[in-house]
């Protein structure tokens, strides 16, 4: 970026030219970045660079991995990727370091007399297949279950679904994306009838305002946040942080607005109230493209086993909706949300101004919420009422946390109710799956079974006798692990864990299968903006570590389903992808062909006529729009999106006399989810070696707590001891404490509550009541 000059006169003369150059460089920072990184690499290093998506979050940055003599030695941002344009975050730059960890699982381990014994892979797979077959014979199909991941590749998820639903014939398949994305899915389905965001990351380059709802993007989606900061300094775009905790994102944004946990529901309704009251409704858009509906209320929180809920939607009209909103005037909402009337009106005015472009971003704050589906609906309401949707720079955008939560969990459908296309409840969708899988149609059951939390409750009740987890660490990430850890240790359930590293989950396994990591296999991931990205195997996996998809196939063959899995070991990823693509043929969801994915850094579906569709439902960009209007929400039969009447309801557990603090849990930039990978990367571990509990300085003072002191956090379910952190990474509001959940030595999920959203079944990790004391 710098240009050196010699004379002082030159200094001034060259200023103009230089600033023009800098401006150009800021427009394409990636190009500069990759070049600078290359400068840091010795000239004689003979590196081979291969492209792929990053292993970590749902942003899906393009990476280039440098290999030398069969070993991965360097990572740089892919300048050709439109996602990150050459920039990565600290996790991305160092990701390949974890695979060199000395405790890497390299051989299958089978538990014998309380010890894990090294076992040849083929024998371990025999044991798994026999156990699975035997369990089905003895206890029925619904006694076996599989729990996969938003980190599974598309082929892995697809084979898991085909094995469980098509071959065995049970819907006992769910994944950890239930813990992070389910509310976004049900939000999209109830409002639009079609999952995943309508916009894309390019919205950042067009928007005037970014409003983040309970979302610390500077740490969780740092590359997108940097793109926003770039627009802030270049165009004066504004970032508004709406949250329950002051974070790095709050300090970097133009305005930070804090609210009382759970009251986001009320504030979103208050924004709609103001929009209608001030006449900011885009009347023609609402008339042409929207319906109004209400659903059941007082749904409960799923705290009891076998909890069931089915929403019954009922159409209403605009006047009824307007009447409903009367309870949500800014003045009324302000009292319990603790957001000032002025701030609510300020937010409403931003959305309401027809001349500004607004993007709303959210992730776990809104999804991990006992009313998560409602909260998603409410933000869509704001964008639908103002017509600010499906246009460059305008729209709601739900971010994901896992690299293929969209690509695998949501698109392939590794949920109990899902199929690669559609849902198990739908006869046509079952017929389609049966036809492509070449299985009898009646083998696929029409009734969904267990969602994530209920699946582990069923293990505890002894209903599930065999469970296989892949690329996930539920013994750290489930809520209320205090119940589910002993459940998994019970004799009644045989536990198989496929993973790359030993984790608290592999500690409760009967068989541990060593898995190949990210770049040790080929695959595809799908990121938050519907972008499918492919990579080729770059290095060999150590020992007997094997691709997950291939382990599934081997077990399926041993169980006698060989004819359904006719793939060859060398090329199974491509064969599976080509088979999977058949499910999504058509203008609404076509996936890019393999040749395209290999050539470029990802493609956004629907991929129609050789082109990615960046803005869905907008006739200008989306060839699937057929109603002759400028917008067509074709997910719903009548082509209209739904504005939902969703009230404010209290959280299941609130601070009281005995447990006076809110407990909020979350993440830090250095660690990714349960830390099984990032804690094995020295750079990241050294920066944040352990979890901690954050206090507001006033609360700390009142309790006499000093920084670093041992603190015991206790709820009605369990406790956890951590060092105190005061005024460091984040600042919770008064009466709230915050704990990151990555640390397996300090399991905060022993303390959390397993209440979930009745519609999405996604647990709320952000709100429960605790007491804190010096330990």
């Amino acid at each position: 970026m710098y240009k050196s000059i010699s004379g002082r006169r030159d200094f001034i003369r060259k200023m103009a030219m230089l600033s023009a150059m800098t401006a150009a460089a800021t427009m394409f920072p990636g190009i500069l970045f990759a070049k600078e990184q290359e400068d840091g690499i010795p000239k004689d290093a003979n590196l081979d660079w291969k492209k792929g998506p990053c292993r970590f979050c749902g942003v899906g940055c393009g990476i280039l991995v440098g290999t030398e003599n069969g070993k991965a030695v360097a990572v740089k941002g892919d300048p050709n990727s439109s996602v990150n344009r050459g920039l990565l975050c600290v996790k991305g730059y160092h990701q390949i370091m974890c695979i060199q960890s000395k405790d890497r699982l390299q051989h299958a381990l089978v538990k014998k007399n309380g010890r894990y014994v090294k076992t040849p892979m083929h024998e371990a797979l025999d044991i798994v297949a026999n156990k699975m077959k035997g369990t089905i014979k003895e206890h029925g199909k619904d006694a076996v279950a599989m729990f996969t991941s938003g980190q599974s590749t598309i082929p892995e998820g697809y084979i898991a679904s085909k094995l469980m639903k098509g071959a065995i014939g049970t819907n006992n398949l769910d994944c950890n994306a239930r813990l992070c994305m389910a509310s976004a899915v049900t939000g999209f389905l109830t409002t639009f009838g079609a999952d995943e965001p309508m916009g894309c990351y390019e919205d950042i380059d067009h928007a005037d305002y970014f409003i983040t709802w309970g979302n610390n993007m500077a740490e969780m989606h740092p590359v997108l946040f940097s793109r926003m900061l770039e627009q802030k300094s270049r165009r004066g775009a504004k970032i508004i942080d709406f949250a329950t905790r002051t974070t790095r994102s709050s300090t970097a944004s133009d305005k930070s607005i804090l609210f009382e946990p759970q009251t986001d529901l009320a504030v979103a309704n208050a924004i709609c109230y103001e929009i209608i009251k001030n006449g900011w409704v885009n009347k023609s858009f609402v008339k042409k493209h929207c319906n109004f509906s209400k659903g059941l209320t007082n749904m409960g929180y799923g705290l009891e086993d076998n909890y069931k809920f089915k929403d019954i939607p009922e159409k209403i009209n605009f006047d009824e909706y307007k009447e409903f909103l009367k309870d949500y005037s800014p003045e009324k909402v302000s009292k319990y949300s603790k957001v000032s009337v002025k701030d609510i009106k300020y937010l409403a005015a931003i959305y309401g101004n027809p001349n500004t472009k607004v993007v709303s971003y959210w992730c776990m704050g809104m999804n991990q919420h006992t009313r998560g589906t409602w909260m998603n609906n409410l933000v869509y309401n704001i964008h639908l009422l103002t017509g600010k949707i499906s246009q460059p720079g305008n729209g709601p955008f739900s971010l994901t946390g896992q690299p293929s939560a969209c690509g695998t969990a949501r698109e392939v459908g590794t949920f109990t109710h899902k199929l690669p296309h559609g849902v198990v409840m739908n006869k046509k969708d079952r017929e389609m799956a049966a036809k492509i899988w070449k299985v009898p149609y009646d083998r696929i059951p029409a009734k969904p079974t267990y969602h994530a939390t209920e699946m582990f409750r069923a293990v505890d009740r002894g209903e599930i006798k065999f469970i296989w987890t892949q690329a996930t660490n539920p013994m750290v990430s489930l809520p209320k692990t205090g119940r589910y850890r002993p459940a998994m240790q019970k004799e009644s359930c045989f536990v198989v864990v496929s993973d790359v590293f030993p984790t608290p989950t592999s500690d409760v396994a009967d068989v541990i299968l060593p898995a190949a990591w990210h770049i040790e296999k080929s695959g595809m991931y799908g990121n938050s903006e519907r972008r499918t990205q492919h990579w080729d195997k770059m290095v060999e996996a150590p020992g007997e570590a094997t691709e997950d998809a291939w382990m599934f196939i081997e077990v399926a063959r041993r169980m006698g389903y060989g004819d359904l899995f006719p793939y060859c070991k060398e090329n199974h990823v491509e064969e599976i992808y080509n088979e999977y693509r058949k499910f999504h043929a058509g203008k609404k969801h076509n996936m890019a062909p393999l040749e395209v994915l290999k050539k470029q850094s990802g493609a956004i579906w629907p991929y129609v006529n050789g082109k990615s569709t960046q803005w869905r439902f907008n006739a200008k960009y989306d060839p699937a729009c057929t109603n002759g209007e400028s917008f067509h929400f074709y997910g719903k039969k009548d082509g209209k999106a739904v504005i939902w009447q969703r009230p404010f309801e209290e959280a299941p557990e609130k601070p009281d006399q005995e447990y006076p603090f809110w407990l909020n849990t979350g993440r830090v930039i250095e660690h990714w989810h349960t830390g099984s990978m990032t804690r094995r990367i020295p750079v990241l571990h050294q920066a944040v070696p352990n979890a901690y509990v954050e206090f507001h300085p006033d609360d700390a003072k009142k309790l006499g707590v000093r920084n670093g002191e041992k603190i015991k956090v206790t709820s009605r379910r369990g406790s956890c001891t951590l060092p105190a952190s005061i005024n460091e990474r984040g600042l919770p509001t008064k009466g709230q404490v915050f704990v990151p959940f990555f640390d397996e030595n300090m399991l905060i999920n022993d303390v959390t509550l397993d209440a979930f959203c009745p519609i999405s079944k996604e647990p709320d990790y952000k709100k429960c009541a605790v007491k804190v004391e010096k330990a």
């Binding site: 240009k3 699982l105 300090t251 930039i669 070696p689 041992k710 030595n745």
Partner: protein, 239 residues
């Protein structure tokens, strides 16, 4: 009499109305005043997070467009000569204007935003903590080259810099080799014409520094040593 009664009752009605209206508005006023708002954090809150972005938001300095004047650039060795040990507050290497002042605006005139100072023929270094105004609490002048007694303080080596020194991988972003307290504002020392040549950043337009650069060792004050995995997997089992 009747007339008087009429007037009295008229005033009575007016008075009652006044009391009702006054009460009503008083009640309303009370209610508004009662709304409990969440207190916005004030002062120096989460400095390690907030200060990073600070200077970027200033409209006085445009770091992205700051050329380098090679004839007048500082070297890292000069940066450290001025400090008793790496991380110590630098002493003031020039005569000062007002001996009775705590510093404040006098120092900040040059040291808040930097710029070329004709008198000393150099660019003024920028302070990473301009909001602290009692400068001379930590920064003192140097009025003699002598020491009081012979001196055996072992000056610690400054952290090494340069390609590959602080990088975990080939070409990966270097880690931060120094402590961050009072130096949270990275850009103050790492960009601009006064930044030492060796530690000048090539991409000052990037604001979220700690997206890529992490401190090497972050937490030292806590009572719990939890820097290792406590599971006994390795000891108990075959691998």
């Amino acid at each position: 009499m009747k007339k008087r009664l009429g007037i009295i009752s008229f005033f009575v009605i007016i008075f009652i109305a006044f009391i009702i209206v006054w009460n009503y508005s008083y009640e309303q006023g009370l209610e508004d005043a009662y709304i409990p708002m969440i207190e916005k954090p004030k002062g120096s809150f989460i400095p390690s997070e907030s200060v990073v972005f600070k200077r970027f938001n200033s409209d006085k300095v445009d770091y992205a467009n700051m050329p380098i004047d090679e004839n007048y650039q500082r070297m890292l060795v000069n940066y450290y000569t001025n400090r008793a040990y790496p991380g110590a507050p630098p002493s003031i290497p020039h005569p000062i204007k007002n001996e009775r002042s705590v510093g404040g605006n006098t120092c900040n005139k040059c040291h808040e935003n930097g710029g070329f100072v004709e008198k000393f023929d150099t660019y003024a270094p920028v302070t990473p903590h301009a909001e602290k105004s009692n400068c001379r609490q930590c920064h003192v002048t140097k009025n003699t080259r002598e020491t009081f007694k012979a001196f055996a303080f072992d000056k610690k080596q400054a952290p090494k810099v340069g390609k590959g020194t602080n990088n975990a991988l080939l070409g990966s972003p270097p880690m931060i080799p120094h402590q961050l307290q009072l130096r949270e504002n990275c850009i103050a020392c790492h960009a601009g014409p006064s930044a030492p040549k060796e530690i000048r950043v090539s991409h000052p337009q990037r604001t979220n520094c700690r997206q890529c650069h992490l401190p090497k060792n972050n937490r030292s004050t806590q009572q719990i040593d939890a820097s290792k995995f406590i599971r006994k997997f390795d000891d108990l089992n075959e691998r």
